[in-house]
């Protein structure tokens, strides 16, 4: 699955600003992301392109495998899922708040801007995690714009955003950060940056940024599509030399089998001949 970079935000006063000005509470659902608002402030964002709280905490081993579903069923109806994760002793309040905000910010990057024609608002809808922390719509959009500016500095390498990449082995000893080395270890030419981010439970934005930086440093490249099996050219030779001159061109002809090949002492052939004879007699 690719990781589309949405176009730059155009209108300064978008849907999110209007919701903030009107201090609405509910869910603003765009084409692939959803913003949950409380009194006009954003307290949860989900987007298909960004690993959410569950993916991050599960990858880090913070929440046991069935723990997430248990939390949804137990504390979801009261909209206090976040506090439930803390009360179970799986993480501290500080960890919950930081992880939640990191996931919110990452999702907002891919969900913004919300196209007005493809966004619907459902008043009163709340997220089961509850309002762990709130961020103002203005601050969130400014933060997203700053992140976008970082990626834009590496725009010439945007081709690697949606492609599986592989490390350039000859340059493996070059200077990299630990985050980049982790990506290089996982870059196998089969998974896109988006899939790597999900597998590692890490920020999809940071993954894109690191992948673009690695591409800019010449440390990764997009593998060539597997070539079709080579077709034999008439007259081509194994060592790659061009075929001989036209006067030596032969028209291909079917050769009859060498007669001696049919005279064999192999008992299997004799058996097959007897079988054929028997079958013909029964026709």
């Amino acid at each position: 699955m690719g990781l589309p970079i949405p176009p730059r935000p155009s209108a300064p006063a978008g849907l999110l600003d209007r919701c903030a000005a009107e201090r609405v509470t509910g869910a603003l659902r765009g084409p692939h992301g959803c913003f949950y608002l409380l009194d006009g402030a954003v307290y949860c964002v989900e987007d298909a392109a960004a690993p959410g709280l569950e993916a991050r905490l599960t990858a880090a081993g913070k929440v046991p495998p069935q723990g997430w579903q248990y939390a949804v069923e137990t504390a979801g109806p009261q909209l206090r899922g976040g506090q439930f994760l803390v009360s179970e002793g799986w993480l501290t309040q500080g960890e919950l708040e930081i992880c939640h905000l990191a996931a919110l910010l990452d999702a907002a990057f891919f969900a913004l801007p919300l196209p007005p024609e493809a966004t619907s608002f459902t008043p009163g809808t709340a997220h089961w995690l509850g309002a762990v922390r709130r961020v103002s719509a203005t601050a969130l959009q400014q933060a997203t714009a700053r992140r976008r500016a970082l990626l834009d500095q590496l725009r010439p390498w945007a081709a690697v955003d949606t492609s599986p990449v592989i490390p350039v082995h000859a340059r493996a000893s070059a200077r990299t950060t630990s985050r980049q080395r982790r990506l290089l270890d996982r870059a196998d030419g089969r998974h896109t940056p988006h899939e790597l981010a999900r597998a590692l439970g890490q920020s999809a934005f940071m993954t894109l940024l690191d992948i673009r930086r690695l591409a800019a440093a010449g440390l990764i490249h997009v593998p060539q599509a597997p070539a079709a099996l080579p077709r034999r050219q008439p007259g081509a030779s194994l060592d790659g030399h061009p075929p001989p001159a036209a006067e030596e061109h032969h028209t291909p002809t079917w050769q009859l089998p060498v007669p001696e090949l049919l005279d064999t002492a192999d008992p299997d052939i004799a058996l097959l001949v007897r079988l054929r004879t028997a079958l013909e007699e029964n026709l």
Binding site: R56, L57, A59, A60, G61, K62, V86, T92, Q93, G94, E95, L96, E97, I98, C99, L101, A102, L105, R133, V135, A139, L140, Q142, A143, T144, R146, R147, L150, R175, T176, T177, S178, R181, L200, G201, Q202, S203, F205, M206, L209, R213
Partner: protein
């Protein structure tokens, strides 16, 4: 265990502190604030701090600890009248967060402030 607001309010008890904040250093988003900010603008301070942190994190020069855990701990900026102390908050899950302290140079002890901030980061996210 304390949340962001409790830790920042404890940070205000460090001698000489003028203001404190928790920021996401990839975007400059303010995750929490307490006290004053330079020029009275916490959001601008967070955005400027994020640029400093990014300059350090994107370069391998400051990341030489190999694969054994996170390498960066503090960034310290000393100025004529103040100190800026930035502490990376390391988490088991992926996040890009740091605690920031703005200190009055005449009142603060840089070594004490650094150790107190380290302990507060560990309270926010136990290692």
């Amino acid at each position: 265990m304390p949340g962001i607001d409790q830790v920042l309010s404890q940070a205000m008890g460090i001698p000489g502190v003028l203001g404190a904040g928790l920021i996401d250093w990839t975007s400059g988003l303010t995750l929490g604030t307490a006290g004053q900010a330079p020029h009275g603008d916490h959001d601008a301070a967070a955005a400027d701090t994020a640029e400093v942190v990014q300059a350090v994190t994107r370069n391998a020069t400051f990341d030489t600890a190999g694969t054994a855990g996170p390498a960066l701990e503090d960034l310290i900026i000393t100025a004529a009248d103040s100190y800026h102390l930035i502490r990376f908050v390391h988490t088991a899950f992926d996040s890009q967060t740091c605690l920031c302290l703005w200190l009055d140079r005449a009142q603060a002890n840089l070594a004490v402030a650094r150790l107190r901030l380290r302990d507060l980061a560990a309270e926010l996210v136990p290692s």
